[in-house]
Symmetry: C2
Subunit: 417 residues, 2 copies
């Protein structure tokens, strides 16, 4: 069996298992998730040993320290994986939930209920915890799943996925519902993208390059995630302390993640007073500032921003800063450069708050809060499979309901049309 045949066989097995999984009871699914959590804890020695091999090879290859950090597992992180599975078990089962119900004049009763999407393909990069997170969320929502992790984490992922499969099937999940592609051949991703007829959706999780390649080449519908060029606009009426705290929080708490701020926009009326304050606070946290002309006239030690800076997703302690004439210029700048992820205004003006939320086109639009809150847990979903930056199907943080479709159930007594 060549690689393509092997991947098709895995997808076909997932599709077959999905028929039974779609109607599996909530109780069996929950018990399986708890068993998977326990198995991961019980066999953490195996996982850590395999992870050590991945880390060693990565070090030999001289990969970046940030990648090593994403790759690295320890007892704490394995504990978090298990806890994630337990939390998913505790969430309400979306399957079968009613979305609408009507009775038509002809007596037909129509109910719309949630059903699984079917088979979900997940393509991800270095973090091995995604293996457990994605498996748990997909199984809980009645979906079979075909996983493809990054080659750097292959030993860790093989260990985790085989432990999960064994525990899941023993606990009653239909055999085949959880599939992992063990080949590290780059062709494997190309084969996955051609699994239309087997996969119902592919969710890529990772950097911009991965997501772009998946969106452009997939014959399977894709949910685009992650890329975030997020702005914070400090309006003329903003409380300076609040604005400074929000800007520092949005930029510095986890600069590598997609809901971090990349560009700060400041109303020109307050630029001379506010910019020195906020830039000093950011620089104290190690942030490199790249400013427009007006920013540099207030803060001469700031580097000059180029056109490329307005579109940059630094993912790092770097921030572009631009002075704008008014809220309309801020909104226009955001419309031009944002990735429709998360945008914030800091203001005390009621009309501007409403205008910003109405006119800015993004998954999450904040007034007086940090963009860092765009997250399934912070939104109260109890879980997150990713953050959709597209408009079709799901937008923003995706929890269990976003992993479902619906069907209409119609009951009659002989109605014809």
């Amino acid at each position: 069996m060549n690689l393509q045949e092997e991947i098709i066989a895995k997808a076909a097995a997932a599709q077959k298992a999905e028929i039974a999984l779609a109607v599996l009871s909530t109780e069996v699914k929950n018990q399986a998730l708890l068993a998977m959590a326990e198995a991961i804890l019980n066999r953490q020695d195996v996982i850590l040993a395999e992870n050590a091999k991945d880390l060693e090879l990565a070090r030999q290859k001289g990969v970046k320290r940030s990648l090593l950090d994403r790759l690295m597992l320890n007892e704490d992180r394995i504990g978090q994986m298990a806890e994630g599975l337990r939390q998913t078990a505790a969430l309400p089962d979306p399957i079968g939930e009613g979305c609408s119900a009507t009775r038509r004049p002809n007596g037909l009763e129509i109910r719309q209920v949630r059903v699984p999407l079917g088979v979900i393909g997940i393509i991800y990069e270095a973090r091995p915890n995604v293996t457990a997170d994605a498996a748990g969320l997909c199984l809980k929502s009645g979906n079979a799943v075909l996983l493809r992790g990054g080659s750097e984490a292959i030993r860790s992922n093989v260990a985790i996925s085989s432990i999960l499969m064994k525990a899941a099937y023993k606990a009653g999940i239909p055999e085949g519902a959880l599939q992992f592609i063990e080949s590290t051949d780059r062709e494997a991703v190309q084969h996955m993208l051609r699994l239309n007829g087997y996969l119902d959706v592919i969710i890529p999780r990772g950097g911009r390059e991965l997501i772009k390649a998946v969106v452009e080449n997939s014959l399977v519908p894709v949910i685009e995630t992650g890329s975030g060029v997020c702005h914070t606009f400090v309006d003329a009426s903003a409380d300076f302390t609040m604005a400074k705290n929000i800007a520092v929080n949005a930029k510095t708490t986890r600069p590598a993640v997609c809901n971090s701020m990349e560009t700060l926009l400041v109303h020109e009326k307050i630029a001379a007073d506010f910019l020195p304050l906020v830039i000093a606070a950011l620089q104290a946290k190690g942030v490199e500032i790249r400013g427009c002309e007006k920013t540099r006239s207030c803060c001469p030690d700031v580097l000059a921003a180029t056109e490329a800076d307005w579109a940059a997703e630094y993912g790092d302690l770097i921030l572009a800063v631009k002075v704008v004439g008014d809220i309309d210029e801020a909104i226009a700048h955001i419309a031009r450069y944002n990735t429709k992820h998360s945008e914030a205004i800091v203001t005390r003006d009621y009309d501007n708050a409403r205008k910003f939320q109405r006119y800015v086109d993004a998954a999450a639009v904040y007034v007086n809060a940090s963009t860092r809150f765009t997250d399934g847990f912070e939104f109260g979903f109890g879980a997150e499979i990713g953050i959709s930056t597209q408009k079709l199907h799901a937008r923003g943080p995706m929890g269990l309901p976003e992993l479902t479709s619906t069907k209409y159930l119609i009951c009659g007594e002989g109605q014809v049309r």
Copy 2:
């Protein structure tokens, strides 16, 4: 400007107009739809004259009579187009509607509200009424639209779309929100499929070949519509008269549409009694029957079905008939051959009714009613842009809410994470 540049320019103009259209008041949108309806009626002579040219050319080319019928406009049909626009004006505006609202423990207030998808591409075939229907539904839901109709209807479509644009823009729709591709070059569709970054979704409306070509080649997300291999399963406990009426209705009232029945499944316990009854009734309506061995042993005058018949979407007065051992065999047959559109069981057995609705994977699953009810108007949506046969974003008949996305609006008082 070559064809590709021309199409990109139209899409860019639509995208620009969409910024203002997304926040346009319900009243202006409704007034515009009413003005469009009036303009179509006032200028029906122009439309009919252009339609006559399309028909003449189609006749010269010797196209099928069914295509001529789809192409043909008359006063009645133009009246229906106008009435459709008026009905869309009368529907509730989905934009701004709240989907959920929560308050988090940290005091953040999160509301999820409906927003337009953005720019919608519609690729359709012979029916010129789609031009008005699609334009009305897209504009009402705040979406700009790029239309591409079939070459047979080009003169009718150019006339209708230019009348609609003039009326819409005069009534306050932002100029550019309604775009029609006038080129009949087949390359135009290929260019549309590459408009990622401009179009948010493409909805193909037409035959299986068109839909397949769009799904396989589009870089823009697609909502797949229309293909329907629908079954009716007559269970052992079915009321014979009800089952016969449903079967005749589902097959014969409009055999060319996607919610018509293509295969009848009959429980073997009642085959000998029920089959002669239902087949005689269908034959009396001109239906050609292609049956399995067991069907032919009950009704010897029936043609033999081949494997291809079980997967066929005849779209015609032809029906495949198969005797099955029990409900499980019926469900398995449906799982293998259906297009997940509409499926029905006729039964008096409570458990079987529930089992069928739970296990059959389709957009609409009926008990004791005709599959012909799968339709936006019959479901009470007041409109329909198509019937989705995919699971992502929308499934089944799509009304105005299915032409929307959502965004999260978050209000705080300085929260940081």
